[in-house]
């Protein structure tokens, strides 16, 4: 008869589920929500699209321009793209995605100009070593293409242009 006691308690304590649409935030800080791309920092390497298991992210190139698109309707929120994004421009929102009623309603398309990957700026590990590191570094980040010292980007070595950039920097 435990089940009847449980049913009575359930009726007394009320519901625990929330009605849609949610009136208040009910996600944790590690909730895997929509992917957000920082267009200022994205270098267009296409790794995110390459590792996306459901092709929710697509990168289409046309010369120096490229378009980055993300369809949450296809996304499984696995986080592969976040993990592989070396410049750390992709982030996941920690809030619930909004409700939408049309197919592709939340699709994002960003049209950007491709930026050449750069070597990371040397981390300011110690003040005494700083001048020495500056001497070995030949490339400075372009304006608007800064990368953080803790998140160094990696050059896409499969692209001839990028390979050339790597060669140049190593001379």
């Amino acid at each position: 008869m435990n089940i009847f006691r449980l049913i009575l308690e359930n009726l007394r304590r009320g519901t625990v589920s929330f009605p849609l649409p949610h009136k208040h935030e009910c996600t944790s800080s590690r909730y895997r929500g929509l992917i957000h791309n920082d267009a200022e920092r994205c270098i267009g390497c296409g790794l995110c699209a390459y590792v996306c298991p459901t092709a929710a992210i697509e990168v289409k190139r046309s010369g120096e321009n490229y378009s980055w698109s993300y369809d949450p309707g296809k996304c499984t929120f696995c986080g592969n793209c976040i993990e592989r994004c070396k410049p750390h421009t992709l982030t996941m929102e920690s809030k619930l995605p909004p409700l939408y009623s049309t197919q592709g309603g939340l699709k994002q398309i960003l049209n950007m100009v491709r930026k050449r990957p750069v070597r990371p700026a040397p981390a300011p590990v110690a003040a005494a070593e700083a001048p020495k590191v500056q001497e070995t570094s030949t490339v400075q980040p372009a304006p608007g293409n800064e990368v953080s010292a803790t998140a160094p980007p990696v050059a896409n070595t499969t692209d001839p242009a990028n390979t050339a950039a790597v060669v140049n920097t190593s001379r």
Binding site: I3, F4, N10, L11, T15
Partner: protein, 303 residues
Amino acid sequence: MNVSGLIPLLLFPGILFAIPAGWFYVWGEHKSIALMQRRIGPPMLQPFYDFVKLLGKRTPSRHGIDADLLRLWPALSVISMLGALALLPVFPSAHGFTGDVVLLVALLEIPSICFILAGFTTGSMYGEIGAIREAVLSLANNLVFLLSIVTIAVTGQTFRLSDVAGWSLNPGHWIGVFGILLCIPAKLRLNPFSTSSAEQEIYSGPLTEYAGAPLGLWKLAHGLEWVALTGFVATLVIPAGGTWWFRVAAFVVISFAQVLLLSIISAATARFTLQSAIRFYWRWAAILALLIAVSAVYMRLRG
């Protein structure tokens, strides 16, 4: 032409009442089970929305399946349930005819037969498994169901529904009502007798391949089954006589009380295996029903 005979079919407890009542009972079942499980449950009009949505959907054509047959089985179920409802003597003026209990039992059984045939028509493996389970379960629960009806008929000394219906002091009548109540979960495919439409196991069994309007008709037939079966029990316990509005109110209240009772049983129990369900009906309930029926016949012969 006497049109008053059409009132039970068209108005109450027929089409005008039974269709919205069926949706309401189905909602009552879903909502009460949800509350017992600490969920919110669907809004009241959800079964109606589902029906309208399904009617608007295009059914994909399937190779090797007769689409007309697929539509025939749910349509037959709906018609038979409306016929069964028209036989229920709710109004004091309803007299029926001798032997209408037998017709009612036959009409109540048609949805189950259609469910079995639908399972085989779809050609789906899950449909066939569900159909076989429904057939076995139907054999199991109908033994008790028929014995209960025989008990009620023998104690009432007639097979006319309007004469056996109503409050009675005879214990045989109440044992018969109890026997019918025991069979209703199996006839409505509710827990613990939901083996034939086990949704997590065989994907709703015979309804696996159904979509669109035919599936909507099945949902409607299921709602009408709720109204007809609970209404049948209600007519057996409503006190005889009384004004028409009292009988109508009592019919609705007693029917909905059964919906809540069956929902509690459904929420409190897990699904029986087919063997356990057969054992329940044939070993325990059938023996009890047989004893009661034999004693009722014996008393009738002596009296």
